[in-house]
């Protein structure tokens, strides 16, 4: 742990001001204790507290050492008392040795010293207690702010991890079925196989390279979604058809990367997988009063009793919106006349 006084200029100044104040107190006290020798008591106060101050600064190190996590309370108190006793003894000894050197030939000193000796012990204990209290105060404040910083860091880490998990989930079913289609096309239509490999590569590159939560333009997001749907069209042929109604003014709006992907996957899973009829996936985007409204809908086979998913796709999208926009984004779903619709409203001025 850093030294609380030496590492901070303001605290260093305050530290010495406090000692000055203490010195004034000690000089007055000792003067009145003996009743005379005002010059000796002033000199004594300045010199002895200069010594004590230096001592106090170095007490921090044993103090920090005995206050590590594992020390029990009884041990701690013992350690503090021993440290205090040693410091005070040391302080009195040094003072006793130095002051006579500064007052050559002064005969009053011995009388002064013995008269103030009990006060000196009292001063030593009092100041030692002050130092210990100060250090404890400092320590708990540091712990608190460190704890806060740790918590904040942890929280952002958790959020980041969660966002990453919500973002990068390419359905393995999609990947392997697409590869199977490629394998088949190499025989029946090599040209188309090559086109599909390229599309699949472009799609995977987009999905894999977006590791962070950087917003992308609607244009690039839609380009990527078209790749995805093109690949799916090879698998499903006539069973899948695509429609788009995009307001050109929205093309440069920033949106979270791969936000809509799970919604298309759902449309495929619950629409196309479960139906033998043609399924149309319609995408519409339009501006709406500072927001952009994105709508994705697909028809589904009402006979397919199972078309009830685990809700992972939708809940991932809505959780992600919540993490990114708080309550400024809306996700709504509706099921009507065999058409499933997801509507998303997000602020048009998104920037992270």
């Amino acid at each position: 742990m850093k030294h609380p006084v030496l590492e901070n200029r303001i605290r260093f100044v305050v530290w010495w001001l406090v000692w000055l104040f203490l010195a004034a107190g000690q000089a007055l006290l000792y003067y009145y204790a003996y009743g005379s020798f005002v010059n000796i008591s002033i000199l004594d106060a300045v010199i002895s507290l200069l010594i004590y101050s230096a001592l106090a600064l170095s007490i921090w190190y044993p103090f920090a050492f005995i206050n590590r996590d594992k020390t029990g309370p009884l041990n701690l108190v013992m350690n503090l008392i021993i440290t205090g006793a040693i410091s005070i003894t040391f302080w009195i000894l040094i003072t006793r040795l130095i002051i006579p050197l500064l007052l050559p030939g002064n005969e009053d000193f011995d009388a002064y010293w013995s008269a103030t000796f009990p006060y000196r012990i009292g001063t030593g204990v009092f100041i030692y207690s002050l130092i210990v209290l100060t250090y404890y105060l400092f320590m708990s404040l540091t712990n608190l702010s460190e704890k806060k910083a740790r918590e904040a860091k942890l929280e952002s880490l958790v959020k980041e991890t969660e966002l990453r998990m919500l973002r990068s989930q390419i359905n393995p079913h999609f990947l392997f079925n697409s590869l199977n289609s490629v394998s088949s096309l190499t025989i029946t239509d090599p040209e188309k196989a090559r086109a599909m490999v390229i599309k699949l590569s472009d799609f995977m590159r987009y999905a894999l390279s977006r590791k962070d939560e950087k917003p992308v333009t609607l244009r690039s997001e839609l380009e990527n979604l078209r790749l995805y749907l093109d690949i799916e069209k090879v698998r499903f042929g006539e069973r899948l058809s695509i429609e788009e109604h995009i307001d050109p003014g929205c093309m440069e709006t920033k949106i979270p990367v791969m936000l809509l992907q799970p919604l298309y996957e759902n449309a495929i899973k619950h629409g196309v997988y479960e139906s033998t009829e043609k399924v149309t996936i319609t995408t519409s985007v339009s501006p709406s009063d500072g927001f952009i409204a994105m709508t994705i809908s697909n028809n589904f086979d009402p006979e397919a009793a199972s078309a009830k998913g685990t809700g992972t796709g939708l809940s991932n999208v809505s959780r992600r919106l919540e993490l990114l926009y708080g309550n400024r984004a809306i996700l709504k779903t509706e099921k009507q006349n065999c058409i499933f619709t997801v509507r998303i409203y997000i602020p048009a001025d998104y920037a992270t």
């Binding site: 079913h173 079925n177 199977n180 088949s184 090879v234 033998t276 199972s306």
Partner: protein, 250 residues
């Protein structure tokens, strides 16, 4: 040499194409029908009585597993799947043959060879489809529909419409909001795969949907009886009463 009649049931056209292409190398195999969904597949199987079926799992209308549940014929089955870790584990545990898409021709060759051996041993040797299903552990997520067959009519009962399941020897009777249907399956299967929070096994022979229960009355010395909203009275065993108590917290 007698040809091996084969049906391909697979919803994606490219996947059917490659399978057909590979199978051209096997002169003994004769593809009698191709289907793009489970219903069509079931019809094809009862119509052409194949020896061998290539069966996709994920398909519209009826999944590969559901098809097997209601199929009465006993062809050799080779499952095809792209990615279904749960199913793959089940297949491995029960030595059921499967192909992971995309697969090389060699892999298909060994599967077909094994199938031909099985077919050569005669139909009696082939595991019946229901036994196959019996061996499969439950579905990873709770069951959400039940497929039943009455003669040639297949229907799918959403689990939401289920009232209770009753044991009848080797069969179970599925009682639902619009009637009842008999199915060859075990009570244990339903106990394991119906959503546990909605269904309770109240008796050796009964699994009931808790929201269908109107009231529970004492019956005899230490038995109870559950009276459903629709009026049926089902016996509740001592263990069943305890299950109900745990589930409903009374």
């Amino acid at each position: 040499m007698e040809k091996i009649k084969t049906v391909i049931i697979e919803d994606e056209a490219p996947a059917r194409e490659i399978l057909k292409h590979y199978l051209k190398d096997f002169p003994e195999i004769e593809i009698t029908e191709e289907c793009a969904d489970g219903f069509c597949g079931l019809k094809a199987i009862s119509f052409s009585k194949p020896d061998l079926v290539f069966l996709d799992i994920q398909m519209p209308r009826l999944t590969g597993f559901e098809l097997i549940e209601v199929m009465t014929e006993k062809p050799v089955i080779i499952f095809t799947t792209a990615y279904d870790q749960f199913a793959i584990k089940a297949f491995e545990l029960n030595a059921i043959d499967y192909l992971l898409k995309p697969f090389p021709k060699e892999r298909l060759r060994s599967a077909v060879k094994k199938a031909i051996e099985k077919i050569g041993k005669g139909r009696e040797e082939i595991t019946s489809p229901q036994d196959l299903i019996e061996k499969l552990p439950g579905t990873p997520s709770p069951l959400n529909r039940i497929v039943v067959r009455k003669g040639n009519a297949i229907s799918l009962i959403p689990v939401d419409q289920l009232k209770y399941v009753e044991a009848q020897d080797d069969y179970v009777m599925i009682h639902h909001s619009t009637g009842k249907a008999l199915k060859q399956q075990t009570m244990k299967y339903y106990e394991d795969n119906l959503p546990g929070t909605d269904f309770v096994r109240v008796h050796r022979s009964y699994i009931v949907k808790v929201t269908e229960i109107n009231r529970i009355e004492p019956y005899g010395k230490d038995n109870h009886i559950a009276i459903l909203k629709s009026g049926e009275r089902l016996p509740v065993s001592r263990a069943g009463y305890k299950h109900l108590k745990d589930e409903l917290n009374f």
